[in-house]
């Protein structure tokens, strides 16, 4: 299973973290510090796996961002690389050639997408299209709710004028 997902920028800034196993706040920051140190310092041609405290961390760099997933020792590392790529492609499709800034200013959107892709540290959906569809439906629900709220407050505002 995937124990956590971590997105770190080349400068070591955290862009997204998702924990599927219990880690306390203290442990989390320790893990992040430790791992970003190890992963950011690895050369470009090396393999994408780092053995770490009895687990394996599979990471892949996309532009300025490192996508890392921590898995059990006997999980399929190559598959996790595919999952990472899958995630990136969905992000790319959603944001339209995604960049780091998208993930900073719309970090919650990135989380929503991740939640449609993984639950309990396991893959939920292998179709990019399905994920995109579910996300956009939910976005529409939010928009609709906003409009409604807007119109009600307009009515009230006008009524009280």
């Amino acid at each position: 299973m995937i124990h956590f997902v971590l997105l770190v920028s080349r400068q070591g800034k955290v862009r997204l973290t998702k924990w599927y196993s219990p880690y306390t706040q203290k442990e989390r920051s320790k893990v992040i510090r430790e791992l970003s140190g190890v992963i950011l310092s690895r050369g470009p041609k090396l393999c994408n796996f780092v053995e770490w405290r009895g687990y394996k961390v599979v990471y892949k760099r996309y532009a300025s961002l490192y996508f890392c997933m921590c898995i059990d020792e006997d999980d399929n590392e190559l598959e996790v690389l595919e999952i990472i790529h899958h995630f990136v492609e969905i992000l790319d499709r959603y944001f339209g050639s995604v960049c780091e800034l998208d993930l900073i200013f719309h970090f919650h959107k990135a989380y929503y997408i991740l939640d449609e892709l993984l639950i309990a540290g396991e893959l939920q959906e292998s179709s990019k299209k399905t994920v995109a569809r579910i996300i956009s439906t939910q976005d529409q629900l939010v928009e609709a709710a906003k409009e409604e709220a807007g119109s009600i407050s307009n009515i009230i505002a006008q009524a009280t004028k």
């Binding site: 706040q25 899958h86 639950i119 309990a120 959906e125 292998s126 629900l141 709710a145």
Partner: protein, 872 residues
């Protein structure tokens, strides 16, 4: 409205944080925002709750504390609208984890939302449950999840399946409820549901053997067919990855088949064809294809034997291993490791390639490969493999050296065909990476050297050469110095020259030179220097002509700031100066160290109870001699080191000894002498200033004993202690060299003419405590008490703890007991010292409390001890 909360939007805050040039500036922005959010929370401001939580999540990601926002998540989750719930659940998953109490409050909301008419709200609840549910929540909500596994919309079914996985992980007992619905999911067409369903079945199989059997019977064929369909399916753009339809589904199916096929020939047989097809037809030029092949190979290696398939699998791994892509090579090594138990012959065939991987520039691959090589070594290939690894040691990265060194040492030790080879290899390792060699490893080397009497000369000469070449590696220096001290004569006389050796001329002064250089070398630490001092002392006796020079070198350390060195220097100087007559016997060669004892100690296989009295040991005269000899030696060394009464000095001692041999070990009867040794130490410690003197006497005494007993057929403890009175003559002699003569002190407690009768301090049905008393003539206020706890029952007492309390006019110092477990009908000892400031006026009284466990049950006994002899 609150003046703060109306403030910034989320993106404004992020911008402000990003614009901060320093960490302090960032903190200030965050502090301001947090203050605003708190204020808004306090006002229970509904309009901005949504935005505040989003801000908090961002702040949380930066690593700032955000616990005050946890309740806001719950409020948002409880509100009716989808947008509020969506952000609320996200916040819940981000800010909380399953161990927080607050989480329990959300159970009810979750339950309601799982019954909501809006399926997306159901989805949110399932997602949160799957990501952070605790065992309690799992129990409460399992029925809801079970129901949702049959929900009309596939989007919910797949989420429910993953929730079920989490629930089973938290509470394996619940797997029963999910078995049937999970089996139903295997017939799904929707890939998302199928993927999660297959995974759920796999998870259930790992916790429930009955379910495994059920799936094996009912589902194997269906799964094989599903895999066949998906493997043969035409191009489908929705699931295509690099020309393969849904590799994720492939992999999960293969994994479930593996679980089903393991240990069941029929099921394995059923899947042979499709595995062969996947293994041979899958494209291996893209990562996705390789991921499937990797999973397929694992399945083939795990299910029941099928020769042809195994060959196919091993060939795939061979191809992987020669791949240029590091990822592929890494997984190949990983897989070979797992195949080792199945087919080690096939793995051996790739040895050369694996060895190359050890030298890879990628640390992850190096580590894997080294691990694999380590497991591949056997008696037949140890020589070439060790040679390769040691050669690589020279050029390897610093970070890798520690691991590599440990593995080489272990291989060499385990599979060495002959001692000389072992010594040679260890020498190479020490010269190359001695600083990475662990204590027990070089201790073991010394033990082996002492046991190989025909190689003493060879070893010392080789070490001498190595030390001449380089003195950078601390452990090399230590081993070399130790051997030079012991075998200096063999070094100079070229005794026991082997044919393969190059002749070497070492004069007596060369030997002294090299030891002197070590003492003076800036990198040598205290232990090394202390060992060098001992070596010098030994050399001075081996080569009387160098005696003067040795004396001056030793003398140079008289002013050392390090107490240890200063003391050794002082003591050794007087040995050289005043006690020529006993010096040679004092520094005799160490008797052969007992290999069995050492390896036993090393393995930590110390028997729990050692105090089975000296009686039995007398019965086996020959057995005891061997055990007793190193022991006595130990004592002498350990008493050498005792001056600093700290535990570190004790460790230090052990270092010196070149082993952990000191400890009482498997040999019955060894306990007592070491106990006696400890007593001496204790006495010494308490004396105060003249301690070193006493110490010296202790050591001499031990040594004398060892000399006297070396040839004695029986050297059991009892004899040892009874012999000790013969020592005093020479002991006194020695003492006068050290300054003011302290009153002579007998060595063992038995000899101390028990001026005070022993008492039975406590007796019950299960336990007896006896106290023995001794007093130092120079300090009559203090009494040393040896408490003997005797177990009167056939049960073992564990976690034994004796506590004592005394009135104010007494001072009590309690040492640790000889063991914290009291064997059946056995005994343990504990020493304590009571100082009676009102001696003569008031007697000693003591309250005591005993705690121990019998079969895990706590037992507590208390009592007061009033029957101390009045004159104490």
């Amino acid at each position: 409205m609150n003046p703060f909360s109306s403030g910034t939007r989320l993106s404004d805050m992020i911008r402000a944080i990003r614009a901060s040039k320093t960490a302090a500036e960032e903190r200030a922005v965050v502090r301001k925002e947090c203050a605003a959010i708190r204020a808004s929370i306090n006002e229970n401001d509904q309009d901005y709750r949504h935005r505040d939580l989003a801000k908090l999540m961002f702040i949380h990601m930066l690593g700032y504390p955000t616990h005050f926002g946890q309740m806001e998540c719950l409020k948002l989750i409880a509100s009716p609208g989808f947008p509020e719930k969506r952000i609320g659940y996200l916040g819940l998953m981000l800010l909380l984890d399953e161990r927080q109490e607050v989480l329990m409050l959300v159970t009810n909301s979750l339950k309601q939302d799982m019954n909501h008419t809006n399926q997306y709200i159901v989805g949110l609840a399932l997602c949160a449950l799957g990501n952070i549910c605790s065992a309690e929540m799992a129990r409460d909500l399992a029925p809801e999840v079970e129901r949702l596994l049959q929900f009309r919309d596939p989007n919910i079914r797949k989420k429910a399946a993953l929730c079920a996985i989490r629930i089973i992980r938290k509470v394996p007992d619940l797997s029963e409820n999910f078995t049937n619905p999970a089996a139903a999911l295997l017939k799904e067409k929707h890939h998302g549901v199928l993927i999660t369903g297959v995974h759920l079945c796999t998870e259930i199989c790992t916790v429930s053997p009955e379910a495994l059997e059920y799936f094996r019977k009912k589902c194997t064929e269906g799964l094989v067919k599903t895999l066949k369909d998906i493997a043969n399916s035409p191009y489908s753009p929705e699931y295509d990855v690099a020309g393969i339809t849904d590799p994720f589904l492939h992999i999960r199916l293969l994994r479930l088949l593996r679980v089903l096929g393991q240990g069941d020939a029929e099921a394995s047989d059923c899947m042979n064809d499709i595995l062969a097809q996947v293994a041979s037809k899958t494209e291996s030029n893209k990562n996705a294809g390789n991921a499937i092949l990797y999973e397929c190979v694992q399945t083939i290696m795990s299910i029941e034997e099928n020769g042809g398939l195994r060959v196919l699998a091993i060939n795939i791994l061979g191809k992987f291993l020669s791949n240029r892509d590091n990822n592929i090579r890494y997984v190949a090594l990983n897989m070979l490791m797992r195949s080792l138990t199945v087919d080690s012959q096939a793995v051996q065939r790739h040895r050369a390639t694996i060895l190359e991987c050890v030298k890879d520039s990628d640390a992850s691959i190096q580590k894997r490969a080294l691990e694999l090589i380590y497991n591949l070594v056997n008696e037949n290939n140890v020589k070439p493999l060790a040679k390769e690894l040691i050669e690589y040691l020279e050029v390897s990265e610093q970070d890798f050296k520690e691991d590599l060194t440990a593995k080489i040492c272990s291989i060499v030790e385990k599979f060495a065909p002959e001692k000389i080879w072992y010594i040679d290899q260890m020498l190479k390792v020490l010269s190359e990476a001695g600083n990475y060699v662990k204590e027990d490893v070089w201790h073991a080397l010394i033990v082996v050297i002492t046991n190989a009497s025909d190689l003493h000369g060879y070893s010392v000469r080789a070490l001498y050469r190595a030390l001449q070449a380089s003195s950078e590696q601390e452990t090399l220096v230590r081993v070399a110095i130790w051997c030079i001290g012991e075998y200096a004569d063999l070094l100079v006389n070229n005794t026991g020259m082997l044919d393969l050796e190059d002749p070497i001329t070492v004069t007596e002064s060369d030997a002294v030179d090299i030891v002197e250089a070590t003492i003076k070398h800036h990198t040598s630490d205290v232990t090394t220097k202390a060992m060098a001092l001992i070596a010098l002392l030994k050399i001075s006796s081996r080569f009387p002509s160098c005696s003067e020079r040795v004396k001056s070198i030793i003398g140079q350390n008289k002013g050392s700031f390090v107490l240890e060195l200063q003391q050794r220097s002082l003591e050794f100087s007087s040995v050289i100066q005043k006690h020529q007559n006993i010096r040679s016997s004092l520094v005799e060669r160490m008797p052969v160290l007992d290999e069995a004892t050492f390896s036993g100690r090393r393995a930590g296989s110390l028997p729990a109870s050692v105090s089975t009295s000296g009686k039995s040991s007398i019965g086996i005269p020959n057995g005891v001699v061997k055990a007793a000899a190193p022991l006595v030696d130990l004592l002498d060394l350990s008493s050498d080191d005792t001056p600093a009464p700290t535990s570190s000095s004790v460790n230090f001692l052990q270092d010196l000894l070149g082993g952990d041999l000191t400890q009482p070990s498997a040999q019955p009867g060894t306990m007592q002498p070491s106990n006696a040794g400890a007593d001496i130490l204790l006495d010494l410690l308490s004396i105060g200033s003249p301690a070193p003197v006493q110490n010296g006497s202790g050591s001499t005494n031990g040594d004398l004993l060892s000399v006297q007993h070396n040839n004695a057929p029986i050297a059991s403890i009892d004899t040892l202690s009874s012999m000790s009175p013969t020592a005093p003559s020479s002991m006194m002699d020695l003492l006068d060299g050290f300054g003011p003569t302290p009153p002579p002190k007998s060595v063992t407690t038995e000899d101390k003419a028990p001026a005070y009768p022993s008492i039975v301090a406590f007796e019950s049905n299960s336990l007896k405590i006896e106290f023995n008393f001794t007093k130092q003539p120079e300090n009559l206020q203090s009494t040393d008490i040896v408490a003997t706890f005797t177990n009167l029952t056939p049960n073992v007492y564990t976690d034994f703890l004796f506590q004592a309390a005394v009135p104010k006019y007494l001072q009590l110092h309690l040492d640790p007991a000889s063991s914290n477990s009291l064997p059946a009908n056995g005994n343990i000892k504990q020493t304590m010292r009571v100082t009676n400031s009102q001696r003569g006026k008031k007697p000693i009284v003591m309250r005591m409390r005993l705690g121990y466990k019998i079969d895990g049950k706590d037992v507590l006994e208390e009592g007061q001890i009033n029957n101390f002899p009045r004159e104490l």
